[in-house]
Every structure is written in structure tokens, then in C-alpha cells.
Symmetry: C2
Subunit: 410 residues, 2 copies
């Protein structure tokens, strides 16, 4: 079977892949207080209005606004204080014309009151009377019932990544459980005869597996559940068996291929044989990370990442993270922070290939500079020493020192 080599620009590779990915959203119900960074599966509606009662927004006096009309410092309105609104209780006061009640921020407005006069605009004058030196309009300093949300209003759409304030919004309405998407299960399969587990002593010619763990961490941050399949030797039946298990257990398969030609070929063969339509592209015009495979097998995305750890992280970020978000059907996934900085030195690049350059951010003379971290692209410490990466676009021959770039922190 021929391994076709069909190299696409990064944005096209991503679009082609995503065009085949259907959301696979199974719901599970979680306590709202544990649903941070999970994704809703259905729109949620308000079971009751918020607030449920008319609330004052100032410390002062609940009044009938009409009683204050025309009031000024030189011609104040005089009102009789007939009570105080207790916090957390139904209002126990009713105002007749010419009457007021003490109210605290957040307190419930008495039934016949329709505004709050700030305490600063009043003056006690003895005998339980106050003078009001500034008129208020009806509704002033009051939150109306349903002003935050009305009953039945959609409060969150489906596919919403839950942030701290979203949990607050749900709990404010007494929604203490929320159906969220099960985390997409991402099978992480490492291959290569030279690769050993990190807790083993590396003999000559051996390197420790780090791709399983860097991509597991990336999976967690993207909202997925990593399933580690360990290190599969450079052996077609063993790879096929691991892939078959992953097809049964996971929503998304990620291979990080060993370095040798034979294991790369074996990985490509296995990916091609997983199901229809098979391989969509084999090669992405990006550095580092060119020898990457994108495939769809019977509806499941399968990505073959290069073995070198920087390429693997780079292409995971480009292709797998958006795929996880698509599986979650999420419209507002978390984004990398982006910082504008000036490039500290010239960076050469090859047109026709997008370069992702690791860079350290340095503040100099009040300006932010991106110092490229040079080093062969497969050295993990180029990424450890970097704060992020910037892109030299496909059609550029490089970036000149002093040019502005956007550094994506990661």
C-alpha cells in the first residue's frame, strides 16, 4: 500500500481535518460547584427571575418617588421614617404617602416604595423625620425583578466552556447540577524502539518517552481526558493491536511516531488502515512538525505526530487542541495568551513553510522584546527556556530585528 505524501499549509490541514470532525457529545451531570472548565451540552434557561424581589442598590431610604419631586437643598421634602427593612426578610413595612423606610444595599423594597434615596442626600431632622435634598425618579437606585435575568431566558448556550462567573450565574438561580459534555478521551500512543519510560535509566541509544506526558498535559488543558497507551515497539501487529484498542476506547487517537523510517512507515500504515476515509494529509508545511498525518477513521480523528518532542507539542497545539474543542462542540474554548513584542534579532525562514519560533520575553527600555531561543528544533529545552512562540508566516522569508510579532504564551 503506498503511503501518499500530501503536504498542506497549516491552516488548510486544520480546516480539512475539522471539516470531518463531528461533535461527539455525551452528557454527564455534575454538581455545578465542580463544573469549572467543563462544557455545557444544552442551552440552560432561568427557572425564575433574578433578582426575585426589588432590591435597593444604595444605603438610604426607600421612598415613594413622587414624594421627593422638586426636592432640593433649599427646598427639601420632609418624610416620616416608619421602619427599617431587615436584611434577608420580606419587607415588613408599607409606605403611605409622606413616609420612608431605612434600607440597606441589597434590601427588599417595601411594596408601595418605588425608589431609594441615598443616605448622603438626606438629613435627620428629629422626631423620626428626615429631609430629602435631592429628588429621585421612580426606579432610581432599584434593581427590578428580573432585571438581571427573566424567567425562561437563555442564560447559557450549549457548548459553553464554564468559567468562574458562569458557575456563579447558575448558582444564583439555584441550579446546583449541570449537564456537561463528557471529556473527549484522547488515546496517546508512543512508538519507537529507542523510547523507554521516564523512570528507566537510559542506555546508549535510548531516550525517555516525554511525548506521552507533554501531550497528556496539553490534553488536560484542552478539556480532554488523556488515555496513555504506553510505548509500542516498532512492530506492525503490536501497533495495530494498540490502535484497535484505542479505536474501541477513545474518541480521538494520537500517535507520536518514533524516529526511524520503519516505525514512521508502520504508523502511517496503521493509521491508513483504521477506517474510512483514512488519511487526509500526510505532511504539514510547518517547522518544526512537518511529518504529521491527519486522518479520519470511521468518524474518529487520528493524528500521527512526529516523534521529536517540540514538533509533537507544536502540532498537537495546531491540530489536536481544536479537534478536542470540536468534539466538545465548544464555542468559547480558552485561548493562549498573546503578547505583542519586538523581535530581538533577525530570524531567517524558508518561504512556503510556517515557522514557529520559541522566544523568551524580555522587557528593555519599557518595551517588550522577543528573544528567539535558538537550538535544533527537536531540543525540548528550547521550549522550556521559552515563554511562548511566534509565527513566521508561510510566505515570509523571515523576520527582521525590531519587527513586531505576536508571541503566544504556552
Amino acid at each position: 500500500m503506498p503511503i501518499f505524501f500530501n503536504v498542506l499549509p497549516p491552516s488548510e490541514a486544520l480546516l480539512l481535518l475539522l471539516s470531518h470532525v463531528r461533535p461527539r457529545v455525551q452528557a454527564e451531570t455534575l454538581p455545578t460547584v465542580e463544573a469549572l472548565d467543563r462544557v455545557t451540552v444544552a442551552p440552560l434557561a432561568a427557572p425564575h427571575p433574578l433578582p426575585t424581589f426589588r432590591r435597593g442598590t444604595m444605603d438610604g431610604y426607600a421612598v415613594r418617588a413622587a414624594d421627593t419631586y422638586g426636592a432640593t437643598g433649599s427646598l427639601p421634602a420632609f418624610l416620616q421614617v416608619v421602619g427599617e427593612v431587615a436584611m434577608g426578610r420580606p419587607p415588613n413595612v408599607t409606605l403611605s404617602p409622606g413616609q420612608a423606610a431605612i434600607i440597606h444595599t441589597g434590601g427588599a423594597l417595601p411594596e408601595t416604595a418605588d425608589a431609594v434615596v441615598q443616605v448622603e442626600n438626606t438629613q435627620p431632622v428629629g422626631d423620626g423625620e428626615i429631609e430629602v435634598v435631592k429628588a429621585v425618579a421612580a426606579g432610581e437606585n432599584v434593581i427590578q425583578v428580573g432585571e438581571d435575568v427573566a424567567t425562561g431566558e437563555e442564560i447559557l448556550p450549549a457548548g459553553h466552556w464554564l468559567r468562574p462567573q458562569d458557575l456563579g450565574g447558575l448558582l444564583a438561580l439555584g441550579i446546583t447540577e449541570v449537564p456537561v459534555a463528557r471529556k473527549p478521551r484522547v488515546a496517546l500512543i508512543a512508538t519507537g524502539d529507542e523510547v523507554i519510560p521516564p523512570d528507566q535509566e537510559a542506555g546508549p541509544g535510548q531516550v525517555r518517552d516525554i511525548n506521552s506526558y507533554t501531550t497528556a498535559a496539553q490534553t488536560l488543558r484542552a478539556g480532554g481526558e488523556p488515555l496513555l497507551y504506553g510505548i509500542i515497539p516498532d512492530d506492525l501487529p503490536a501497533l495495530e493491536a494498540a490502535a484497535a484498542r484505542a479505536m474501541a476506547e477513545a474518541d480521538l487517537l494520537v500517535f507520536s511516531a518514533g524516529s526511524s523510517v520503519s516505525v514512521r512507515d508502520a504508523t502511517a500504515l496503521v493509521i491508513a488502515g483504521l477506517g474510512e476515509p483514512g488519511i487526509l494529509f500526510h505532511g504539514v508545511a510547518i517547522r518544526p512538525g512537518k511529518p504529521t498525518i491527519g486522518a479520519i477513521a470511521d468518524g474518529k480523528p487520528a493524528i500521527g505526530l512526529p516523534g521529536n518532542p517540540v514538533s509533537a507539542m507544536n502540532l498537537f497545539d495546531l491540530l489536536v487542541v481544536p479537534t478536542i474543542h470540536r468534539l466538545l462542540d465548544c464555542h468559547n474554548p480558552p485561548q493562549h495568551s498573546v503578547v505583542r513584542a519586538r523581535v530581538a534579532r533577525n530570524v531567517a525562514a524558508t518561504p512556503g513553510r510556517e515557522d514557529r519560533v520559541p522566544a523568551k520575553l524580555v522587557r528593555r527600555d519599557g518595551e517588550l522584546w522577543a528573544e528567539p531561543v535558538f537550538g535544533k528544533s527537536n531540543l525540548i529545552y528550547t521550549l522550556v527556556h521559552a515563554d511562548g512562540t511566534f509565527v513566521v508566516p508561510l510566505d515570509a522569508a523571515g523576520v527582521t530585528a525590531g519587527e513586531w510579532v505576536e508571541v503566544r504564551l504556552f
Copy 2:
């Protein structure tokens, strides 16, 4: 005891608070694979070089570079192929002058080889011989021992927030356990007679506690451990008892005050009485969130947040998140993503106060616009409907439609 009111601009309030916060870093040792988003407590050094052996970076032939000098397409060098480097094994070939060995990307260079010729620059010519059509320099296509990191080199400083690539860097060196800072314990104390737990039916005048949960989520994101103390009624001894417990158990105390004057006064009294030097500021020139207290009590920061949920989140973000990072002694904490956008309509503001305006991001004609989400500042759904906030600076009277602002996503 007088409650002094000492309002500071936001940046000054933060600086004053942080100037009193000492890192409180207790170490705990975690498996490296579980240390994502934790913070190192000491610099870490490489126990051995990386890589540990000379590795080829191309598929091709390991050679003695001198044998290829002067080789061109018209005048190739001829080399005898004497073996193949097996992946993951010590090199089992030694090259004499005029000899080459097949090598795969990542393979170990034979001892007397010093370069790799890419397969594309070779041609088999029969009898186990190849011609080399392009000379290589010594060291070409080779990663030297220690080129990624040298033995003893500092690989991570103290106070480093561990990202996916950092875990990879540690595991590549066989560092499978890492000492990290224990998460700072953040006591979250809600107060107010009108506040009830979220799973209860809210009667007239009652509102559900959401500050405990929004700030718990913010604590988690900032790398802290939230300790929820529940809702304390508006009662000085009860507040004092909760605060004493928090002083004993937590590294940082956060009160979210109820709405009424009396509970706000009681909270301020309790904070003032926790220890020396006491309250640093009482009031921050920011909207929403002005009535905020910053204090230090016997070395522990104590923050009194306003009761309204938007203010509470806003000031938590401004003051508490950096305090958690300072307690962790972290130099690279995660940052909010920032997006530049044009303001979709005029926003008025009061000079002398920093405004944080919730906004929704909308793409229009290829440009990103920030639509302010209007609403009274204590409505939690203004934040739920927003993608982030932008700042109207202290000295500005507003922002004009079309102006560029930086929207912090949260």
C-alpha cells in the same frame, strides 16, 4: 474603634498590599506527571547531559566528514556501507576511513563518525557502496552530547509555574519527582443575613451565596486551594470566630461582606483586629469594587471584598490573584488572554476612578469589536454575557466608539 477610609488607586493598592506579602512556600514532593500547574520551590539542575549520546537528526548515513570533503554531483565521494545503526541500542559499528553506516533520525552515531549525510544527498551504486554528492562538515546533522542541556546546568529556576513542556524537560532527564510549593490555602468567608446557600429556596429578601464559589474557582485557577467557611451571619462574635479559625488554617483570608452597613462595619472591625499592622487601605478607586479592604495581620494578607458578585470577582482578580502568586513566589504565573478590539459604542466614566467594563467580542467586517455589556454593576449576568473586561483608566472620562482597547478574557 474608628473605621478609617483610605481610598487608593488600584495599582497603588496592589503595590502596597504586595509590599507586605512574604512568600510562604512549604514544599511537597509530587510525581512529575502530576505536577502540571504547580510551582517549583528550588532551582533544578540536570543530573546528566541531554542527549546522553550523539544523535543523528536526519535519515541517511553516518560518515567521517573528512571523507566527503569536496564531494559534488559531478565529483561524488564513494563510501562503503558497513552496517546499520539499530534504534535504541549502542552503536554496533565502527567506521574506518572510507566507510559509512545507515542511520535513522535519532540514532546513535558510531564512535568514529562525526556527521550524517542526508539520504537525499546519496545514491546507492551497488556492491554496498554509495556515492555522496554533497559534502558535510564535522558535526553536521548531529546533536552533540549535552547540546540540549549540560550536566549540572540549571534547567528550571525556583518559583516556576510548570507547563506541559517543563514536565517533558524533567522527564527527559529521568526526574520523575519534583518538589513543588504546597498550594496556598485561601479562606473564603461569606457574610450577610440575606445570604443563603445555593441549594436553598430563596425567600423574599434572600439571595444565594455565589461569591464563595466564583472566588473558589478563581482561587483554583490562580494555583491556590480554596477553603470554604460558609456563610457567617451578621454577628460580631460569629465573624470573629470564623476569622480566628481562618487565621489558624489558611495562608490568606478573603471575606466577601454582606450588603448591609452593619455587616460591612463588622467585617472591617474583624479584619482590623486580626493582627498587626492591620488595615492598609479601605477603598479602591475602581468600579465596580470600591468598598474593598486590604490588610496584613501578623504576616497574613486579609482582603475584604464587596458583597456584590461582580465587584467581588473584579477585586479578587485585582488583589487576591497576585497575592496568591506572591505567596507561591512564582515568576511566571498564567496570564489572562488579552485581545485588542475596538469599542462598539461610547462609554462614559468618572475621572479619578478606574472602570472595568464587561464586553462581548464580535467580529464585524473582519475587525474585532468590543460591545460593552451594560447593566447595573452588581448583576452577575453582565459577566456571564461578557467575554472579558476592558479598563477605562483612572484619568479618562470615558472611551469613544471606535477606540482600541485591550479586552482581558476571563
